[in-house]
Assembly symmetry: D4
Homo-oligomer: 248 residues x 8
C-alpha cells in the first residue's frame, strides 16, 4: 500500500540486506499492535489519514480506557463513541484531559487542533430528540479537524424554522441531516442546497417508526438526488465521511 | 333496497300496526339485493348518504357491467374503481354515457350533479408518476358532489413549486396528498395548512420503496399532527373520507 | 403566510419605513422563540388555530416544565403527551393547576374552555387494555375544545356490546376507534355510521400482534371506505384531526 | 402403525413363516407405490381415513393425470387442488368423469357419496373476490363426505348481510371463514357462534394487504378464542380439518 | 346476565305483551354488566356454552381479583390467563380456593367438575422450554371439562421419543402441539394421527426464531393438511377450540 | 433563494417600479415551466449547478421525448434514466444526437463537455451482473463533467482481482461501489482507500437476497466508516453525489 | 498465495533476474483472464482445487457459451447453473458434448471422471416439487467427482417413506436435504444420522411460505445441531460444500 | 437404528425368549431416561457419536445441575451452553470440576480428552465484540475432541489483519467465521481457503443490523460457494458440525 516501502523492501532484498523469506513475511503484515483482546491499527491513521476510533459499546470500561490511552500515546486526536458514563470515568482516570459529551455519548481528546477541512460542515436535526446523533456528528467532525455548525429543531412540519437558516444552507460545504419519524428533512434540505447531504436516520419515534427503520427507508428513497444515507443513529459515520469530503 | 318495503313499513307505523321502535330496528337490519355472485347494498346510499362503489379489480367485465347497470337503475351517481379498458368497454355497452378515466382507472356516471361539499377539496401529488391515485381521488370526489382542484408535481425536493400553490393551500377545506418514494409531502403540506390532510402513499419508486410501503410508513410517522393515512394507491378511500368531511 | 402582514411589510418598504434588507430578513423568519434546546412555535397557534403540544417522551422533566410554563404564559390551553409521573411533578411545581391523567399519560391546563367543535366526538375502544390511547384522545379532544364521549370494551367478538351504543353511533360527528390485536373494530364501526372514522391501532396483544403492527395493517386494509389511520397508540393525533374536522 | 399387522408379522417370525431379516425389512417399509417422480401413499387413506389429495401446482398436466388415474383405480374419492385448465384437460382425458371447478381450481371425482360428516359445514366469505378459496373449501368438504353451505359477500362493513344468515350461524357444526383485506370476518363470526371457526386468509386486496399476510396476521390475533388459522388461500386445508371435526 | 330480565321477557311473551319474534331479537342483543373499566359478559357462558376468561396481562391485580370474584359469584368454572404471582395473590385474597399454576401463568377455580368432552385431549410439546404454553393449554382444557394428557420433550430431532407415545397418538380425539424454534413437531404429529392438530408456536428459541414468528410461519405452511394454527404462546386459545371440538 | 434577485425586487418596490401585490406574487414563484403533466424546473440547473434529469420509468416515450427536447433547448447536458428502447427511439426522433446506453438504460446528450470534476471517479462492481447500475453511474458521472473509470468483476470472493486495481484504488477521488448478493465489496474497498465510498446495492441475487435488500442492509452496517449508501440499483444517485464531491 | 512462487520471485529479484518494479507488479496480480465483460479466474481451480462455475442467470446465452468454451479449453469439468434452454443451445453449439439437465437448470461437461469424494453424498427432498434444487445438487456433486444418491418425496408428513431409506441414512457421508413449505425435513433427517446435514430451503409453497423464506428460517432454527443452511434453492452451493467435505 | 439389536430381538422372538408383544414395544422405545421435566437421551451419544448438550437458557440452575450431573455419571464430556453465572454455580456445587467460560457462556467437564478430529479447526471473528459466539465455538469444539485455534479482530475493513493469518488460512481443515454488522468476513475468508466455511452471524451492531439478521442474510447470499450458515450467535452449532466434518 505504500509503494515506496514496497520498492525499498525489494531493493533491500536485491542488496541482500533482507532475506527473501523475511520480505515475504513483511509484505503480508502491515503494522498493528496486538493487545490480546484487540488488534490496534495505528497504521490506519497513516493509511487513511484519519484517526482510528474506539467503538466503546461492546467493550468494558477498562478495555476502552486501555485502548484510549495507547492511542493517545501514538499522538493525534482520539475519539470513543457509544460511551457510557462508566466508560468516561475509566478513560479519564487514565487520560485526565479527555472530554465526555453525554448527549452524543462521545469521549474525545484533541491533541492536534489543526483545521483540516476547507469549509464548514452543517449539522441539522429535525427535533430536539434527534440531538444525540447530531452531537455525535458534531464532536466527531471537530475531532477530525473541521469547523461545524449545529442547527436543531428545524423539522419539516414548521418549514419557516428551516428557511430561517438560509445563510447556513447557502454556505456550508457538506450537510449532515438527522431525523427520525418520517425522515423527511434530508429531502427538503437537499432540495435547497447545492452540496452533498448525508442523511442520518435516528431512532426517534414510536409505533411504526420501528426504531428508525422508517426514517432509514424514507431517506433511501429520497426524491432529491444529492442524498446518501448511513445507519440509524450513526452520527459518527456521517461526520467521518463529511470530514473526508471537506478535506477535498 | 326495496322502496316499497320502506314505505309499507312507514305506513304500518302510521297505522299503529308496527311500533316506531321495532320499525327503527327493522330499518337497521337491512334489505339488499342478492344477484348470486354478490349482494348489492342499495340501501347503503341512504344509510351512509354516499353511493355504493364497485371495486372492479376482482370482477369480470360482465359482472362489473351487470352491477353498474343495476346501480344506474337505482339512480344517483355510480362509480367503479380499479377498472381496466375491458371493464370500461363492457360497462359502456350497457350504459353508454359512462365515462372512463384511464389514468385513475375509474368508470363513472354522474346522474346527479348537486354540489354537496361545502368547500373545495385539494388534491396534491408529489410527482407526475403519482397522477394515477391522484386522479382516482379527483374523480371520486367529483362523483360524490365536490369541487376539486388538482396540483401535480409539487414534490418536496423543489419546495418553490409547492409554495407557489399558496392560494390553494390557504383556501381548501380538506387536503388529499399523494406521494411515493419517501412520502414526505403530506408532512410538509400539513405544516402549511390549518385543515385535515389525508395522505395517500403511492407505489411509485423502486428498490427500498417496496411498492409504497416506505411511503406508507413515513406518512404514519408524520411529525405533523393533522395527517391521517389510507392504504397504498387508495385515492378512492381518501376522496370518500374527504367528501364526508367536506359535507360537514 | 399572513397575506396582510406581507402586504403591510411591502407597503412599509415602498414608504421607506422598512429597508429592503430587513424586509428580506423578516420575510424569511416567522416568529418563534428559541430557548436553546428547542424552538417554540407560538406562531403555530395563530397559524393553525390549535395549541402547540409538547411531546414529553424525549425530554427531561425540567425541559418539559420549562416549555409548559412558557406556553402557559402565552395563553390558551396547553397539553403535554407521553408524560410520566416525573414529568407531571416537574410541571405542576411550575404550573400548579396542571392536571395529570395517568392512563393516557397526558398533562394539561385548560385556560380557555370555549367549545369550538360543532358536534360530539365519539371515542370507542375494543378492550380495557386499549384505554391508554383512548384516554389520550379524550383529553386531547377536550383541550382542543370539543365535547367527547368514551365507550370502552366494545370489541367485535361481542357485537351486542357495540350495537348497544346505538345512540352514540347515530349522533357523533367524528369517530375515533382504538383497537389492538386484529384491529377489526374500526371496520365494523365504519359500516354502522355515516361519519369519518379515525382508526388508532394500539400496541395491545402478544405474539403476532407485533406491538400494534398487525392492527395497523388491518386498519389500512379496511373494507369500509370511511376509515383513515394514524400511528400506533397515537390517540393524540387522532383527536387533533378529529378536532379540526369537528370545527368545520 | 397398524398394531395388528405388526403382531401378525412377529407371530410369523415366531412360527418361522417369515425370516427375521425380511421382517426387519418389512417393519421399516409401509406400503406406498413408487412411480418414479412421486411416492403414492395409498396407505394414507387407510391410515387417516381420508383420501390422499394431489397438489397440482408443481406438477405437469401429464404427471397430475397419471397420479389421478392411479388413485381412481384404488377407489374412493379423488381430489386435485391448484389445478389449471390444462391439468383438468389432461385428467379428463384419462378420467372422463372428473369435474373441474374453475373458480376454486379443483378437479374431483366422487366415487363414494356416503355422507360421513354428522352435521353441516358453513363456508362464509367476506367479498365476492374471496370466492376462489371458498369454493376450494366447498368442493373439498363435499369430496370428504360433508354437507356444505356457502354464504358469500357477508363482509363486516355491512353487518346486516351477515346477521341475515342467522339460521346458518345457529346450526352449522363447523365454520370456515374466508376473508382478505383486514381479515376481520372470522372474529365477528366467532363471536356469534358456539362452534370452531377455521379462518382462511385470502390474497384479496392491494397495497398493505401484502397478498394476504395482513389478513393472516389479523386472524392469528383474533380476540375471539374459537378461531384457528390456516395458510393464505388454503381453502383445502380448512375443509380437510373441518371434515375431521365434522366426523366426530 | 340478568336472570330476572330473561324471565320477565319470557313472561311477557306468554302474556302476549311481547311477540316471540321480538323476544328472540332481544335475546340476541344481550345484557352485560358494566363495572366501569370493563363490561362483564356473563351471558357468554350461556351463549357459547363455555366460561368467560380473564386476560390478566393488561389488568391490575385489583381489577383482576374484582372480575374473578364476580365471575365466581355467577357460578361455573373461572379462569384467568397471563397472570403473575401478584395477580394470583390478589385473587386468592378474594377467592381463597383459586389455584395458581406458575409455569402456565393461570389462575383457576373449578366449581363444576362435570366432564364435558367426549374423549381425551393430547398436549405435546417439543422441548422442556415449551412447557409454559403447554401447561396453559392443559389447565384451560381441564377448566373446560376435558380429560387431558401431556407429553413433553418429544421434539423431532429425537423421533424415537415421539414414536414411543404411540398409544396416546392412537387414542386422543384432538391434539395440541406446542413447539418453538423450527416448529416442525405439528407436521410430524399430524402425519401420524387421524385427528385435528392445533399447532401452538412458542416463543422458544433465539436469533432467527424471532420470538416464535419462525415457528408460526412454519406451522402455517405445514405439509400435513390436518393442522390449524393459533397465535404464538396461545395455549389458551388452542385448548378453547380443542374443548369445543371434543364436545362434538 | 437568489438574494440579489430578492433585493432587486424590493428595490423595485421601493422605487414603485413593481407594485407590492405583484412583488408578493413573484416572491412565491420561482421560475419553472408548466407543460401540463409536469413542471420543468429549468431554474434547478442554476440553483444546484447540475442538470435536471428525467426519470423515464413512469413516463410515456412521447412525454419523455417532449421533456428531453425542451431541456435540450435550454442548453447544457441532458440525461434520462430508467429508459427503455422505446423511450430512446422517441427521444432520438426529436433529438437525433442523443445516445442510448442499453445496459445502464440511460439516454444522454452532451452539449457541454467541460470537465468540472477535479479528479477521477472510480466505479467498481462485484460481478458482471452488477454492470447495469454501474454503467448508469458511469454515464451520469460523464454527463456531469467527470472523468470516470470502471472496474468490473472484482467481488470479494476473489480478492486478488480487487487488489490488482491498486493504482485505481490509490488515485481516485471518490468511489462508487456496486454489489448485490451479500454486498460486501464497499466495506472491503473502503478499508483500502482514503476517500469517500458511495455504496450502491444492486438487485442481483436470488432467494434471500430479496432483490437487493440484503445488500442494502449489509452496506448500511459497514464496519468501514467511510461508506454511505443509496437506494437499490441507484447508480444515478451515487454518481450525482460523487459529481458534487468531485467538484469540491 | 503460492508461497513457492513468491519465494521464487524474490529469489529472482535477488539474483537480478527480475527488477523490483516488475516484481511489485507481479505480486499484486494473480493470473486471471480478462475477457471484457468478465474476469475468468482459471487460477481458482488450482487455488481451491475445484472447478470455477458459471452462474448463467445474469448472462446472455452468447456470454455463457463464450465463458463455457474458454473453461473447457483449460481442462477439467465445467458447470453452468441457472441456465435456460437458450443458454444450453448456445453452449452446445460451441461445446457439442455439453449436457443440459432441464429440471435442475444445469449445463455440464465432464472431462475428468475421477472419483474424488471418499464416500457417498445423499440428496433427499421433501416433495416432488423440490426436485429442481435437488437435481442441481446431484449434477453439481457429480461434476465435482462424487458418488450421489437421490431420494425424493420423503416429506415429514409421511414419516414411513423417510424411515424406509434406512440404508441410505446409515451410510452416506454427507447429506443434502431440500425442503420448502415448513422446511422440517432437515431437522428430522439430522436426528437420524451421524453426519453433517446441509439444508437447502426451496421456494416451494404458497402464501406464508414467502418463496422459501419460511423454510429458510425454520432450517436456521433447527433443533438438531448438525444442520447448516444455504440460500433458497441453492442446490449448487450445498453440493459444493458437500464435495469439499466428502474429499476430507 | 442398531441393526444388530433389531435382529437379535427378532431372533429372540423366534426362539421364544421374548414375546411378540414385548418385542413390539421395545421396537418403538429406544432408551432414554425420563426425569419428569425432560427426557435424557443417553442413547444419543452412542447413536450420533457425540455428547448430548444442555441448552441452559430455558432451565433453572437446579434443573441444569441435575441434568449435568446425570450426564457426568454416564461418562464422556459434558457441555452446557447459554449458561449464566447462576447456572455455573449450581452445576459446580454438584460437579466441582466443571469449568465456566463467562464470555462464551459455557459450562463444561472434560472427562475424555482423546483427540478425535483429524486436523485443526480455525475460529475467526471480525471484531472483539464477536468474541462471545467465537468462544462458545472454541469450547464446544474442544469438548468434542478437536484442536482449535482462535483469531480475533480480523474484520474486512482492515484486510491486512486477516491476510496476516496466512498460515492458519492454509492449514485448518474447517473454518468457523463469526461476524456481525455487514457479515462480510465469511465470504472473504471463503475466497482465500480451500475448505468448508461455517458462518456464524452475530448480534453485534446497532440500527439496521437488526440484532444479527443483516449478517445472517448477507451470509446466506455469500458469493463464495463454500459457505454454509447457522443461526445468529450459534457458535455451538457451528462447532458441532465442524467437529463432525473434522472427524471424517
Amino acid at each position: 500500500m505504500d509503494q515506496t516501502t514496497v520498492r525499498q523492501l525489494l531493493d533491500d532484498v536485491r542488496e541482500n540486506r533482507v532475506s527473501p523469506e523475511s520480505a515475504a513475511d513483511r509484505l503480508r503484515t502491515l503494522p498493528f499492535e496486538d493487545i490480546g483482546f484487540a488488534k490496534l491499527d495505528h497504521h490506519r491513521r497513516l493509511r487513511l489519514g484519519l484517526p482510528e476510533v474506539i467503538y466503546a459499546a461492546g467493550k468494558t470500561p477498562a478495555e476502552t480506557a486501555e485502548i484510549f490511552a495507547r492511542m493517545v500515546a501514538h499522538g493525534g486526536n482520539v475519539l470513543a463513541t457509544r460511551a457510557s458514563e462508566e466508560h468516561a470515568a475509566a478513560v479519564r482516570e487514565r487520560v485526565p484531559g479527555a472530554e465526555f459529551h453525554a448527549r452524543g455519548r462521545t469521549i474525545c481528546l484533541i491533541q492536534d487542533s489543526t483545521e483540516r477541512g476547507k469549509g464548514e460542515i452543517a449539522v441539522l436535526c429535525a427535533g430536539t430528540s434527534d440531538l444525540g446523533p447530531a452531537e455525535e456528528a458534531v464532536v466527531t467532525a471537530r475531532v477530525m479537524g473541521n469547523r461545524v455548525r449545529l442547527s436543531a429543531d428545524v423539522g419539516v412540519a414548521g418549514l419557516h424554522r428551516l428557511l430561517a437558516q438560509k445563510e447556513l444552507l447557502a454556505t456550508a460545504r457538506v450537510f449532515i441531516v438527522c431525523a427520525g419519524m418520517e425522515g423527511a428533512l434530508p429531502s427538503v434540505v437537499a432540495g435547497l442546497v447545492a452540496a452533498p447531504v448525508i442523511a442520518v436516520p435516528t431512532s426517534v419515534g414510536y409505533g411504526a417508526s420501528f426504531e428508525g427503520v422508517t426514517a432509514l427507508l424514507a431517506m433511501m428513497n429520497s426524491c432529491a438526488p444529492n442524498v446518501t444515507v448511513v445507519n440509524i443513529d450513526n452520527g459518527f459515520g456521517a461526520a467521518y465521511v463529511a470530514s473526508m469530503i471537506n478535506r477535498l
